[in-house]
């Protein structure tokens, strides 16, 4: 009986990764059952053996333990190549894998965690990235459940060996909960939600120091969950009882505000395929030629209304995790602000549109030259300026929202936010991203109130 790793589709070429694994397996098949050959494999033999075992583990559930024992006996690199190969399978093939291979994937990941394999973090992150936000189908829920169970079961081990991966899981599950929360459509979803809440609360209560690594987006995510009883208490403590977290660096929520979130967190909600497509669009497609690509992207990833929350994550990704080099910025390639403008216009739901604007402007609120990157705030100002005059409603909407945030985001810390936004405007003018704010101040189509505020800002900058 032929073994199958991926679902075969008509008129689809073989995937090179699948082929390399299958060929290694077929080549070494006789050696993969006990008694295993003794002797140390040469480097090329070692590679083939690892590949063969990956294939065997994923396609032969009944022999998986045999394969793993074989692997344990032959390892010379801390499982580095093995986990790297499994990670590649996740990144490139996950959506094509047959169901039994997905089950095996979780099993082998657990095995790798058990032996503290090198590369475990990358493997776990790759799996987290395969969870699709806004997708309630069984396969996706199954993956969520398996992963949250794994993180809970292997808590101590991961805390010791790969603590940061727990923060990636926290980021992912907080985001998922915001999306999943609401009347449970079924009991499975309820069980999943409870486990996710349990994991997140435990992280925040027991490992807050670790959670600080997430930076300001932790606040953004928690804000979406204030209506959930377990998180409401945490939110209150963040604002009023920071001592509850027993972390010496954490005296006030502003400690989080002032920490930029590392760019790798924004990859978590974007699948590798989405990432590839977006980076291709922003690197190779000229302004004027983007319409077809945008239509394909929409159809593939955003065809269902429930998926609109993805727009928020994509905007965050573009601002913070995709910084084009000067050659691209100065070329005819479609700029980031234009892609963000398209995403903003694609949004149908008001509350999501508000979140998208927050995602676009978030790094403005607490901008500090020493900590933050101008590339994170550049798309917003360019979108505002380049939308004049044809899309003036966007300019208006963004400026209005920015000042709304300044006035209301955190009333107690309004001075800090004022300083942040002021610094953001200053550095954008100083570095020549825009010549001055005059184009906005002198724009007739903006409301007098907005122009007044901008005018005041502009004169303080001089």
């Amino acid at each position: 009986m032929a073994l199958k790793l991926v679902q075969t589709r008509k008129n689809e070429a073989d995937n090179p990764i699948e082929t390399s694994l299958r060929e290694a397996f077929e080549l070494l098949e006789p050696q993969l059952r006990p008694p295993f050959p003794l002797g140390v494999p040469t480097p090329p033999e070692y590679i083939h053996l690892n590949r063969a075992i990956v294939y065997g583990v994923l396609c032969e559930p009944h022999f998986a333990t045999v394969h793993i024992k074989h692997l344990h006996g032959k390892i010379t690199d801390g499982y580095s190549f093995f986990t790297h190969t499994v990670t590649k399978v996740v990144n490139d093939l996950y959506h094509k894998l047959v169901d039994s291979a997905k089950v095996q994937l979780i099993w082998v990941t657990t095995e790798m965690v058990n032996v503290s394999a090198i590369g475990t973090e990358a493997l776990l992150v790759a799996l987290l990235r395969q969870i699709v936000v806004g997708d309630c189908n069984d396969g996706n829920l199954w993956l969520c459940l398996e992963l949250v169970s794994l993180f809970l079961a292997k808590w101590d081990c991961l805390l010791e060996e790969e603590p940061l991966v727990l923060t990636s899981a926290l980021y992912t599950f907080l985001q998922l909960l915001a999306d999943q929360y609401g009347p449970a459509r079924n009991s499975k979803l309820e069980e999943l939600k409870q486990m996710e809440i349990h994991f997140c609360v435990r992280m925040l209560r027991e490992q807050f120091q670790l959670c600080l690594n997430v930076g300001r987006d932790l606040v953004r995510l928690l804000q979406n969950l204030v209506h959930v009883p377990e998180f409401r208490i945490i939110w209150k403590d963040l604002l009023f009882n920071p001592g509850e977290f027993r972390t010496k660096e954490f005296h006030d929520i502003s400690r989080l505000y002032l920490s930029k979130t590392p760019s790798q967190y924004f990859l978590l909600q974007i699948t590798p395929e989405m990432e590839t497509h977006l980076r291709f669009l922003l690197t190779h497609v000229n302004l004027g030629s983007q319409r077809r690509y945008q239509a394909w992207f929409m159809r593939k990833f955003l065809s269902l209304p429930e998926r609109e929350t993805l727009l928020i994550d994509i905007v965050r990704f573009i601002c913070c995790s995709h910084h084009p080099p000067n050659e691209i910025i100065q070329s005819a390639v479609i700029p980031r602000w234009a892609v963000i403008g398209w995403l903003l216009k694609s949004c149908r739901k008001n509350y999501i549109e508000a979140h998208i604007k927050l995602a676009l402007l978030y790094d403005w609120l607490f901008f500090d030259e020493r900590e933050d990157n101008i590339m994170n705030i550049e798309p917003a100002i360019l979108l505002m300026v380049n939308s004049i005059p044809k899309y003036i409603d966007i300019t208006h909407s963004l400026l209005e929202f920015l000042f709304l945030l300044v006035d209301n985001y955190d009333i107690e810390r309004k001075d800090m936010i004022n300083r942040g936004v002021f610094s953001a405007f200053c550095i954008l003018v100083r570095k020549g991203v825009v010549h001055s704010l005059d184009i906005l101040v002198n724009c007739d189509a903006l409301s007098p109130l907005l122009k007044q505020r901008l005018g005041m800002l502009s004169s303080s900058m001089k």
């Binding site: 008129n11 070429a13 395929e273 497509h277 077809r292 394909w296």
Partner: protein, 140 residues
């Protein structure tokens, strides 16, 4: 290894020797031709575009954005349409998605070809009928 050709270099011929990689830009409606399902599509690489005729299972196998590798394809007149297709002896396979740049001009199907005066077995371009597909006009 079969020799690959850019779409700008294809010429109508009764030979199934076209090996090319291109992206599916747009797809029309599926119709029935006798017992067989068929569908016209616009494909392109970064040198040119052309109309591609999907046949049978191909109609469902490919979607806009798919990158396709054609082996032993044929570029010829099918019921007055000049189309590229896999034909009986050719093969089309999806090899990727999205990550390919392309142009919609020139369109090799929207060119009037005539036999080469010095070699009637070969075709040459006489004039351009339309700079781009009239069936799948560019998105503006």
């Amino acid at each position: 290894m079969a020799e690959m050709i850019s779409l700008k270099d294809i010429v109508p011929a009764a030979q199934n020797n076209i090996n090319s990689v291109f992206i599916l830009v747009d797809k029309g409606r599926v119709t029935l031709e006798g017992q067989n399902r068929t569908c016209l599509a616009l494909v392109a690489d970064n040198t040119a575009a052309v109309h591609f005729q999907l046949w049978g299972e191909e109609c469902d196998a490919f979607e806009p954005g798919d990158i396709i590798r054609l082996t032993n394809g044929i570029f010829s007149y099918q019921r007055n349409n000049l189309v590229l297709r896999a034909g009986k002896r050719g093969k089309s396979e999806k090899v990727g998605e999205f990550t390919m740049t392309f142009v919609e001009t020139p369109n090799m199907s929207e060119i009037h070809w005539i036999p080469d005066p010095s070699n009637p077995k070969k075709y040459v371009q006489e004039r351009v009928i339309s700079p781009h597909s009239r069936i799948f006009p560019p998105m503006l």
